[in-house]
């Protein structure tokens, strides 16, 4: 017992040291942005000529891709074969340092969703092969092995994982409610990239500013908020924001070889019950609930009818706000500004983009017609976006009524990030056989 406590204390100390190192990397140079032109002192120092950085050869992209596949394979092996939390942790530290700080968070499957969408909807856009690879490879791994990408490869996840000091369990309704945000975020990201408006996932990446030592104060603030929140709500960005996580969640549900808490039959010892900081362990269900399913079926039928109504209602509602959604598009915003200025020219100073546009020689009418075409795309897109959100609402409600009987403690395939924390708590060894009959534990029974 004494040695176990000592081991845990040492582990915590190690985690704090790594965290301190990461924080020093985060804060290094963060405040050194020059507000004024650099002063010239008469010290005899000669300012060197402006250096133009060379374009990195394409071979480096493939090297990165190779390394990415290697790390994905390694972390998958650590999770499924070695069942080593320590191994996963050190790989995630490496990923944070390499893919995060060294490669500036640029190898990013999370943002590649937008590249793929843009390529589908804009024939003029050429998507790099590596972007396609970075989009597909994690999905492929997830399809077979669960979300091992989230476990140890994603630098955004790795940085949050270091801050998960005192994770607490959230009430299911909070999880369901906040769990809708990634779907909305994904829908918006697809809408804006399909209309060639903006890559909002990249724009609002909360940690890339830390990696590059360069972000707006607002993004530094959001990154800081998520890291502070992450002390109590583990990996808040992964769970309640990440749009790519939506896809991984859906794919992971049908994964063939997902991480299992017990390597063989679960003995219901309940040691792993509170081990997951992401609330991704499904507990065994009570027998009485299994038998009382008539009410649930009734509710499922109701939701079955409500869902199409929600799709239409939210689709219609979103379409009513399509012009507000379209204001994110630069050309639409410019057209609106010029229209407004034409009405109030005498007392409003035109913004610089209006002055620049006017000096380009393009007529207002040409801009208006272009903006009208974009608005039409947004009208259709917002119908689809609203419908998608309605569908997600409906499916979430319907999912609440679906009851699956569970005899063991199992990792929820969709939510589990394959971090392998729970396996450390499991006393069952590979090949162990259970001699006693397994007794289901009633729902809601807490640990003594």
């Amino acid at each position: 017992m004494f040695f176990k406590h000592r081991r845990i204390a040492m582990k915590n100390r190690l985690q704090i040291i790594i965290l301190a190192l990461v924080i020093s990397l985060l804060t290094f140079n963060a405040f050194s942005i020059q507000r004024f032109p650099k002063p010239e002192f008469d010290s005899g120092y000669k300012t060197p000529a402006v250096q133009v950085s060379k374009i990195q050869p394409a071979v480096f992209e493939f090297l990165d891709l190779g390394l990415f596949i290697l790390i994905m394979s390694l972390v998958t092996w650590m999770v499924l074969k070695k069942r080593s939390r320590k191994g996963v942790f050190w790989i995630s530290v490496f990923s944070l340092l390499y893919f995060g700080f060294y490669r500036n968070g640029c190898i990013c499957p999370v943002g590649s969703v937008q590249n793929i969408t843009m390529a589908i909807f804009n024939p003029g856009y050429t998507i790099p092969l590596t972007a396609i690879a970075f989009f597909i490879i994690p999905l492929g791994f997830t399809l077979f092995f669960g979300r091992t990408f989230c476990a140890g490869v994603c630098p955004l996840g790795a940085i949050q994982d270091l801050f998960a000091f005192r994770p607490i369990s959230l009430k299911p309704w909070i999880r369901y409610l906040f769990g809708l945000i990634p779907f909305i975020y994904l829908g918006l990201a697809i809408l804006y990239s399909a209309t060639a408006t903006d890559f909002i996932i990249c724009r609002y990446d909360p940690f890339v500013g830390f990696f590059r030592h360069n972000a707006s104060s607002m993004m530094f603030a959001i990154g800081g908020i998520l890291l502070v929140t992450g002390i109590f709500i583990a990996r808040p960005y992964c769970r309640f924001f990440c749009p790519y996580g939506v896809l991984l969640n859906l794919v992971s549900r049908v994964s063939r070889r997902h991480l299992s808490i017990a390597p063989s039959a679960c003995i219901n010892c309940r040691l792993c019950e509170n081990s997951c900081p992401y609330d991704a362990i499904d507990k065994p269900t009570g027998l009485e609930v299994k038998n009382d399913n008539r009410e649930l079926v009734k509710r499922l039928i109701v939701y079955w009818f409500i869902t199409p109504a929600l799709v239409v209602l939210l689709g219609w509602t979103a379409s009513k706000y399509h012009d507000s959604l379209a204001l994110v598009n630069f050309k639409v915003r410019l057209a609106k500004e010029i229209m407004l200025l034409e009405k109030t020219e005498s007392n409003v100073t035109p913004p610089i983009e209006v002055t620049t546009f006017r000096s380009s020689g393009v007529s207002n009418e040409a801009l208006y017609s272009e903006a009208a075409a974009i608005l039409e795309k947004f009208r259709i897109g917002s119908w689809i976006l609203g419908g998608f959100i309605g569908l997600v609402f409906g499916m979430t409600l319907a999912r609440l009524t679906i009851y699956r009987y569970k005899n063991d403690y199992t990792a929820n395939k969709g939510l589990c990030l394959s971090c392998a924390r729970c396996v450390e708590y499991c006393p069952v060894k590979e090949g162990d056989t259970v001699e006693t009959e397994v007794v289901p534990v009633p729902v809601g029974l807490e640990n003594p």
Partner: protein, 328 residues
């Protein structure tokens, strides 16, 4: 209880993050909020007190050529402007009296007794007033940039903003002297030029004046290159110059007063020879109203003073504006 508070606190933080992102994504366009692009601070700094305007615009000459960079006025008050690989000559009435094409992009212009000197990047070209190329002088520094030329009867002085020196040439293009190196013995402070603005001009006593923009001062040198004196203070008030490096351009009036242009705040001021502020000539809003305030770049490209006491301002709209002193 403690756990509940932690959850509420964390959830509120998450909601704050969502709110910040949503607000940034869907915030209203600038025009709807009536905000200017450059920030209200800069716009307010550009404002001038119209009661202090001591000059009035008498004429505006539309050159019809974009990309003009330099202006000078000869002893007969003919106006020469350069830029966009050409030189245009106007008389006082605004009528174009001549023009000719040149080989390269020009940065500045000066006139001698019968010659026109043009800054050709790092080199200097000499043309006759008829537009015939006489010579192209070897650059002092191949990476240099000649930003101003001043001519007296013996020598041609060129300001090289990259080398941070005034180069003194004989009329046949031989480099005679480098002026402006820091010298603790003579007290020469050395030129500090953070951006490529470095103007020079001759005073009434055949003395050479140069801007030391990093020090926000005008400095006086003898024609032999000895540092004499200087004036100018760093301030956002009228009494001095503001920003990292100003004034960007200046000219000396026949009465010995100085006309200066400050980039950034776009103010054209008049100082007496001791550096006392006298009046404004123009500011942002004096040329094309609100458009001046929102101009992306400097409002004034160059300025010159004529022997008639008029001030000639080449603005960003390729216009030559002629100002004369208001009658008292």
């Amino acid at each position: 209880m403690r756990q509940k508070i932690t959850i509420v606190f964390s959830v509120l933080l998450l909601l704050l993050a969502v709110f910040l992102i949503a607000r940034d994504l869907f915030q209203k366009p600038a025009a709807l909020t009536n905000a200017s692009c450059c920030g209200d601070d800069l716009v307010s700094m550009k404002q001038i007190d119209v009661a202090l305007l001591g000059y009035t615009r008498t004429r505006t000459i539309e050159t019809g050529v974009k990309g003009l960079t330099g202006i000078t006025v000869d002893e007969n008050n003919r106006i020469f402007v350069c830029g966009n690989r050409q030189v245009l000559i106007f008389d006082q009435s605004g009528k174009k009296s001549g023009e000719f094409a040149v080989d390269s992009v020009t940065s500045c212009i000066a006139t001698g007794s019968n010659e026109i000197y043009l800054g050709f990047g790092s080199g200097i070209a000499c043309y006759t007033s008829a537009g015939e190329k006489k010579a192209l002088w070897k650059p002092f520094n191949k990476e240099g940039l000649i930003t101003s030329i001043a001519v007296n009867k013996d020598y041609i002085y060129a300001a090289d903003a990259v080398s941070k020196l005034i180069l003194k040439y004989s009329s046949d293009g031989r480099l005679a002297q480098e002026i402006g190196k820091k010298d603790t013995l003579t007290g020469a402070p050395g030129f500090i030029i953070p951006s490529l603005y470095f103007d020079i001009s001759f005073g009434d006593f055949n003395d050479l004046w140069a801007v030391n923009p990093g020090r926000l001062r005008l400095e006086n040198y003898t024609i032999a290159g000895h540092y004499e004196a200087g004036w100018g203070i760093a301030t956002s008030e009228n009494s001095g110059f503001t920003g990292c490096c100003n004034p960007a351009h200046f000219a000396i009036l026949p009465d010995g007063n100085f006309v200066t242009y400050e980039k950034g705040v776009d103010k054209i001021k008049v100082f007496d020879p001791t550096g006392r502020f006298l009046c404004f000539i123009a500011g942002a809003g004096s040329f094309k109203g609100n458009t001046d305030l929102q101009l992306n770049g400097n409002l004034v490209k160059d300025l010159a003073a004529g022997s008639d006491g008029f001030v000639y301002v080449l603005d960003a709209y390729s216009q030559i504006n002629i100002f004369r002193k208001k009658d008292r």
